[in-house]
Symmetry: C2
Subunit: 342 residues, 2 copies
DNA sequence: CTGAAAGCGCTAACAT
DNA sequence: ATGTTAGCGCTTTCAG
């Protein structure tokens, strides 16, 4: 009859106690190398793997971390942002030898049942929360639990949290100043939803720059929803107002806008110059290539994991907001190479 | 002093035993409604949540399922396929009240350590394996364990597994016949990697159709790697051979190819007709809109979850391969509307 | 309908 | 360096 493969059984076969086997498995130094060899041999030949749940229960730590993505179902398919972010998070999670659990909120009815699972003790050691809508109750809810969490983005109410963000405002401001420096006067904005912190900050930053340059937008402002088609529609809607340059709050929307410009028989950057945000579209994927405010997405993911780990193990205890700089990557769509005679 | 919140403590406060509380939590019918009310009240006011690890250990089931995506890092960012698939899987996982854990293999060194975590008992009840390279040892490895698993795609060696796939071959064949019916004779193929089953099957299917139509491809075949830029390069490389129509094994690559055609001063579909595969690009995202063999990606994900659940709970015990039909969605890029005078 | 009691497989403090 | 022991919080017979 087959015995269940556990510490006790491995110990029996190796002629040691279960504690010793546990020590070997966990790399405890207090084991003679002779014993260690023997135990490792038994483990190898039996294919023994420790039972994760038992280990979690006894050690009160799961080595699992959760990634919560609420209400972003539409853009998740369409925007390379989340793929990149998940990649950065996943890679780092592997690196620190943990496991990643994904909590994707789709429709609203999911929400409460998922939330309660997120904070269920013994499932994850901590969570990363991303793409939170401004005023999302999730943050407050998490504050009320003792589940460690890190927010990606800027939580709206300014309350103390651990967070990782990029300098959306500064990046968008730089875009405005760059376009103004190129001589554009009738600038326009295609913004992202003001329900997200990135949307709000990029809008503010662009307006900062516009104001600094002594310009204004008049009515040349349209709202997109991160999707390519929303960018196209916004651009179509904007064309009658004859902007000479436009800042678009995401690459994905910019790709849509490029289509609208082309369809209207106009040329970017000659008729309309364009700067977008993200830096996630390769130069050879669009004509013209996109001048874009690049954000280090996978670094953000990596940092969020490391920060969360520090919060979990108690090495960081005072809320900190990490912000990564953004960088204006100049390519063709802004027309500055043309302007410089290149 | 604060007591730990567990079954025992809830029972103490409600004046019942821990067993009764457990019954209430798990919806056991053998509890008087009076007792049930009282216990539920205590649970609500204390915010008690059962300890997942303890539950897993005692019940020998985690209610967690794993999604394994090996070696697909490049396309994960770029191709809407994985977003859609993850969405379908995640939605269904929520629906059946389970939790989803993500195992993303990045670089090779990750692999063995992740694999061993995947099959670690007490972590997940079963896994869905996707995007497996042909000949990937992972399938064989999983066969050697008693971890339930479902493969998305077609495992290469034909051994018995539970799998969910789409009719790649039939769909690609339909594409060939459609183009042939439109009168094209110098057809071309931009294929996907032959290291993947979808790549192989779409290629075979297209060749089936070409042969049936009494045509051949001569040397008008190029290989892409699923990315947009590979599609662009392949198309550029193909143009000197003057194809009058091309089948491209994925939408993403087709978008790249469209750019190459445009840059060459040619027109799709007038100069080159095009049919691609996936049906994942909205009609308004490209000009012309893509005629594409649509596959029901999120349904595949949903079915995989349900099948896996059946395997886990033992209600399905004989390996079955589920295949979803594909559907040729005719839009502009194939030129059939022009041909019909529409 | 409810309670008592025996584990699930592991960790960690303690003892030797 | 190794073994002993007492839980971790839950489910699940088994009694009653």
């Amino acid at each position: 009859m087959e015995r269940r493969l556990n510490l006790e059984e491995i110990g029996r076969r190796a002629g040691v106690s279960r504690s010793t086997v546990s020590r070997v498995v966990n790399g405890d130094r207090n084991v003679s190398s002779k014993t260690k060899k023997r135990v490792e041999a038994v483990i190898a030949e039996t294919g023994y793997r420790p039972h994760a749940a038992a280990r979690s229960l006894a050690s009160n730590s799961t080595d699992v971390l959760g990634l919560v993505i609420p209400s972003a179902v539409e853009t998740l398919f369409d925007d390379p942002y989340f793929g990149r972010l998940i990649y950065g998070i996943s890679r780092t999670t592997n690196e620190v030898r943990m496991t990643l659990t994904l909590f994707l909120f789709g429709e609203v009815p999911d929400e409460s049942s998922i939330i309660s699972r997120v904070v269920s003790p013994g499932l994850v050691d901590g969570v990363i929360v991303t793409a939170t809508k401004m005023g999302d109750p999730l943050i407050d809810y998490l504050r009320g639990t003792n589940m460690p969490f890190v927010v990606i983005g800027r939580p709206d109410d300014g309350g103390p949290v651990y967070s990782v963000d990029v300098d959306n405002r500064g990046g968008a401001r730089a875009a405005a100043l760059h376009l103004a420096g190129l001589g554009h006067r009738r600038m326009a904005l295609i913004s992202a939803p003001s329900s997200t912190s990135a949307g709000v900050d990029r809008r503010k930053g662009f307006l900062d720059g516009i104001t600094e340059a002594g310009l204004n937008l008049e009515n040349r402002v349209r709202a997109g929803d991160w999707t390519e088609s929303s960018g196209r529609r916004a651009m179509e809607d904007l064309l009658p107002d004859r902007p000479d340059a436009v800042f678009i709050a995401s690459d994905r929307m910019a790709v849509g806008a490029l289509g609208a410009i082309r369809d209207a028989g106009l040329s970017c950057p000659k008729d309309i110059a364009m700067v977008s945000f993200d830096g996630l579209v390769a130069p050879d994927q669009t004509v013209p290539s996109l001048t874009s405010v690049a954000q280090p997405v996978s670094k953000v993911g990596e940092r969020a994991v490391r920060l969360l780990k520090s919060v979990i193990d108690g090495s960081v205890t005072v809320p900190e907001c990490i912000s990564f700089p953004t960088e204006l990557v100049i390519r063709e769509s802004c027309g500055s190479r043309l302007a410089n005679g290149m």
